[in-house]
Amino acid sequence: MRQSGNPTSWGGQPRCRASAIAEIHDRFAALPGESQVPMLAYGNGRSYGDVCLNDGGMLLRTRGLDRFIGFDTAAGILECEAGVLIRDLVDLVLPQGWFPPVTPGTAFVTVGGAIANDVHGKNHHLAGCFSHHVLEFDLCRSDGSRIRCSPRENADWFSATVGGLGLTGLISRVKLKLRRVQGPWIRGDSLRFANLRQFFALSAQSDRDYEYTAAWVDCAASGSALGRGVFMRGNHAPGEGREPRRFPLTVPLTPPVSLVNAVTLRLFNQLYYRRRGASRRNVQWHYRPFLYPLDAIMHWNRIYGPRGFFQYQCVVPQAVAEPSLQEMLHRVSRSGVGSFLAVLKNFGTSTPLGLLSFARPGTTLALDFPNRGAPTLQLLEALDEITCSAGGAVYPAKDARMSAASFQRFFPAWRQFAERVDPQFSSSFWRRVT
């Protein structure tokens, strides 16, 4: 997982070059002194767009902050440095019967990055966001001060920093509340649905009794098949079996052109929907393939070729979710560019804690598109308009192109947030949207 040379983001978009890189490995040390250029923390580079990039500025690489500080195995409270990966955290706490209460779709993110993007997981409808389980953290500011933040202590700094995209300073130390589990197994169902209406019905049935729910949608389908997909639901459960092998596959190099195109997309989506495993009940999964399916293929982002890809994730309010999503899927289907990985999920009703937190009540749709230049950007702009008129929002962690006007409509608290931005910190994203 070592990064060398110029740090990039996961989507390979946009191209940025930092003018300086500082390795942060001592949580007690002050930030690099008076810097001529703005700083930004860079964890494991799994944000898709430019929230983790700082063109012309300085990146503070935080993977050296990877120490555990304290683990109360009775209370399930873990204290660690902010550069610890979720994967390493799980490896430590799972054998003791604990698990992160919220985890994103990849375990290759740092704890600091999980806070800065206030990530969510397949259990948002019950567990809320990552920030709902953060007990406290230390925020290092460029003026040398260190602010201890929790929902009660310096609560204004807490709400600015969770989901604050690393702009309020460097998160150095974190204390998290974990949840009990009986082991590494998850038990549940995989169910086909024929259209969006059936998705909403399945979700309504499942969200009370299943901790993890999410659906894959066939984005190549059109006409009466539009909105069909596979719904997955599961709960942590006792079980037995062999642990799956770790990282058996890798994409060793970037092919000269994207392997994702109209033909492979249609083929993949057809096969994925029709495969026998798509409709099974009472299945036992290991948590890794269930929660982190793509972590099994190292460097999977390379299949999109040297031009990279765009992720698009939005949330739209429940009341207008069905027509809005119908329209989006229609647009995507008509564009012919499709999407390899389309994920649908109903968020819960918990109140977001961060000024810029993305997850909010409603339904979220995540899509990704190979970067084909102007046509792709036009499609994404059209999706923004649908999100906008629905009163929704687009997820900064996955964005590389939304306009300043859109951002400011999606996140009306941005002005209030801007007052908390460290004067020495900035990012390519922040300069783009403000």
Binding site: M1, R2, S4, G5, I21, A22, E23, H25, D26, R27, F28, G64, R67, F68, I69, G70, F71, L92
Partner: protein, 245 residues
């Protein structure tokens, strides 16, 4: 390696190696300059499975303090089964060229202190008739190069010293391991542009831990440095002196 002393405990390679031993449930004594940083690493190693972890503050320039440090380390772990000597600085070659004092300080930290420690450890381990002494040398010690020959000379001294020590201690049941890392991505090398030859500390650490447990004599880590250095050593001096490496 039930009870291991690590000198230079805050170095990235040392810390990564300590994690390998911590995962096995071993005990460690970490020696370094900053108590705060040593304690942060000690806390982490405990959580990762280490049995006992103690820390001791020492500047390796203070050779007169070594005996007391070894006594304290041995007491704190109830004896020692092995030692990893991992401290060092990457010399600023140009500063070493300008100043004799800077040059001598580099030799002091990277060579003399290591030889002094090895001497004391050798006598202790020989007396108990077992033990492993592992020393981080460098591929830079295989041949002096214009761009960093002061560092290279110090590491060459360490390589030759440990080679002799290995012969001397073999009959006493003590093994000596000379570790020659290539380019490792650590804070010490933060200023360098990284290419495909660079390795992560964790990769190097796994190989060091395995070699210590095996009682291996010399390792290049990652292993591809062995043929590379063979080639570098084989270049005739008439050619080598014209190269800029």
């Amino acid at each position: 390696m039930r009870r291991l002393l690590i000198v230079g405990g805050t170095s990235a390679i040392a810390e990564a190696t300590a994690r390998e031993f911590a995962a096995r449930g071993d005990s460690l004594c970490l020696v370094g300059r900053s108590r705060e940083r040593l304690q942060a690493i000690a806390d982490d190693l405990k959580i990762r499975g280490a049995d006992v972890v103690t820390v001791f503050c020492l500047d390796v320039r203070d050779i007169s303090a070594y005996e007391a440090m070894l006594d304290a380390a041995s007491r704190s772990l109830d004896g020692l089964d092995g030692a990893l000597i991992a401290h060092g600085t990457l010399s600023d070659q140009q500063a070493c060229e300008r100043s004799v004092d800077v040059m001598l300080d580099e030799i002091q930290v990277n060579a003399l202190s290591v030889m002094a420690l090895c001497t004391l450890l050798a006598n202790r381990f020989a007396a108990q008739r077992r033990g492993v002494i592992a020393v981080i040398s460098s591929v830079a010690g295989d041949r002096g190069r214009g761009s960093n020959y002061v560092y290279g000379a110090a590491k060459a001294a360490v390589t030759a010293f440990t080679s002799g020590l290995r012969q001397r201690l073999r009959p006493h049941g003590v093994s000596v391991l000379t570790v020659k890392p290539g380019f490792v991505d650590t804070p010490m090398t933060a200023a360098f542009k990284k290419g495909f030859l660079w390795a992560a500390p964790r990769t190097v650490a796994k190989e060091i831990a395995a070699a210590m447990l095996d009682g291996a004599p010399v390792i290049y880590t990652p292993g591809f440095w062995r043929p590379i250095m063979w080639v570098i050593r084989s270049i005739p001096e008439s050619v080598f002196r014209r190269l800029s490496l």
